[in-house]
Amino acid sequence: MIYLYIIGVDMAQPRVFCLVLLTVALGAQALTPSHHLSLSDVERLKGLLSQPFTDLASAYYSIVGLSKLGAAVADENDACQFLKAQLDPMSVDSLFFAAEASQAIADCEMPVSNETRDILLAAVSEDSTVTQIFRAVSALSSLGLPLASQEVVAALVARIAKEDNVLAITTALQTATRLSQQAELGGILEEIEDLAARLDDLGGVYLQFEEGLEATALFVTAAYTLSDHADTEPPLKEDQVIQLVNSVFSKKSWDSRSEAFSVACAAAALSSNRFHVPVIVSTQGPATVSHSQPILHLLVTDILSNPLASANLLVESAQAVASKSVVLSQAPFSLRDGIFELNFMASQPASGYYQFTVAVTGDSRLVANQVELKVKVSTEVAVTNMDLSVVDKDQSIGTKTSRVDYPFKAKGSFTADSHQNFAMNFQLVDANTGVELTPHQTFVRFHNQKTGQEVVFVAEPDSKNLYKFELDTAERKSEFDSMSGTYVLHLIVGDATLENPILWNVADVVLKFLDEEAPAAIQSKTLYMPKPDIQHLFREPEKKPPTVVSNTFTALVLSPFLLLLILWFKLGANISNFSLSPSSVLFHVGHACMLGLMYVYWTHLNMFQTLKYLAIIGSLTFLAGNRMLAQKAVKRIAAEQSSRLAKYRSLR
């Protein structure tokens, strides 16, 4: 925003300079309301409030809410009768609802008695809740009964100290609006600032209480009503006001009647208080101007979408987004039938986007009265000087150029083979001003009618904004899949700022490629056809040596056993000492079983089963073996002893 003002200074006009300083001094706002109640939103709010009411509270919300929006209940007489019937003269709440609602209806009086007055006055004390005090005070004031403002203030101050929550303090603020202006409202006025400090800032856009929408809306209502009543400006900064507007009016469908009521009250308070009135500037329809529609229409309303009575709209500056040049400065809008109009095309802007900064003046209460808008200027494009030619690569034969006029098609067809290039030159100009244009989309499309192939190229402008397109047949043959044939040539021009996009069949071009792949008639990419099946290859077993070799080596490995037997025989090993005692037989049998178990383990069993059998057989074998070896040992020791004895005897 600041650089726009610097450009304003460059204009070297003292008046502009002063305005610039003033605006900068006021604080250039970056924040404008992003939400407000459009006319349909207001209708929806009224609809919700107009639903039939079943008890006094809903009657109160509906009747008073509608009156704040400037509407009325469907049948006022019925409503009045309903209020009188439902009234319970002993209950403060009942009296409050009935009294307030009847005030909003013309010619509706609630019956008042001394008892009523006594009950209401009794409710105004330090011992009642703030809500009770508020309802009693409001009922008293609506029914026209006298009340002692100073006592109320004292009770409120005492209760605020005890009930320190947002809703209680808001209710206290509301109560203060019903008191006489002579009362000491200063202390209560300060609560507005304290409450505002409790608001939560969400992203710099929203400001609301964590208690929700209703609490925020009621706070806004109470703050502005009390400020008006006490004739003191509320301590809310303009940014805060906008953020509060965003919070309260962002919700467009309301859960309950009381929520709708609070929003209606807040809307009424913000559109008609004496200090801050947020203003909404919006376009009527799309923000586009063109030669056929040169006038820019803007609406200036308050947040209830009511047009502001005394407002003036001024364009501070209109700057082209692309070239950053200022097209318009300090131009006023003219008011016609409640809509502000400006003939922007009178300044003869080039087509494109423009950043408008508009200011609303005329009322010192206006908040967020500086708005930025983006306006599009659209135009029509014309293609001129379209020249088609076939250029020989080695430039030995002269080029054949033909001019084609839009929207006609070239008479003959153009032939280009691999030695030639096909070229296209043209210009795009603004149909109204003759200025050269460079739209976003300038495509050259080749379409083969027979095969359905479509190849699109982009035409680029050179430094003088002349469009050139050249097709090198040999270089580009992969894009065409080398399919020779007749291609229909289209020029496509499009842009957001063009009102007449162009699709122009310019000519037929016959392209001849070398290495044509004749068989495939339709060369559509086979990306999405099923691919060939993959057969799973199981892991091939390793190569084994031939059986002969294995058998030979098996025999070879077993042969040393024969050698062992021969050696043992030669050494004279024998089993003559074999005693046929049961333990030795059992031992040998058990041992043989163990060896047999090893073989069975190899072929059939797993480790667990083997261990089980081994445990059984092994323990038997062990016991038998132990026995047998012990016997052998005894025999051996006896033999040794007897031989030693014999040796000893022989020595003697």
Partner: protein
């Protein structure tokens, strides 16, 4: 040089055949058999390849283990070593030999696949 080697070998053979008892020679014959078996298995592996590598390992380790256990048995039953093995009688040595072999065979059969 070769002369002395031949004389050492002949001397050794002479002493062996005269001095060692028959029992030990029986065990020596058994050890020789185990050695041959192991060597032949290794030769096969070198020539033909390690295809069922686990089987080769099982067989080879069986030979090696049996050889070692045989050597232990021989040491323990040699009367010249009686001083080193006072608490272990010949029968006890043989029983140990059998038990160790059982465990070895269990492992080998498990690994042979």
């Amino acid at each position: 040089m070769s002369n002395s080697v031949i004389s050492v070998i002949s001397r050794f053979l002479e002493e062996y055949t005269t001095k060692t008892s028959n029992k030990l020679k029986v065990v020596d014959a058994y050890l020789f058999y185990i050695l041959l078996t192991g060597a032949l298995q290794f030769l096969y592996c070198l020539l033909v390849g390690t295809f069922p590598f686990n089987s080769f390992l099982a067989g080879f380790i069986s030979c090696v283990g049996a050889f070692i256990l045989g050597v232990c048995l021989r040491i323990q039953i040699n009367p010249d070593n009686k001083g080193d093995f006072l608490s272990i009688s010949q029968e006890r040595a043989f029983a140990d030999f059998l038990l160790a072999h059982t465990v070895l065979h269990l492992v080998v059969i498990n690994f042979i696949g």
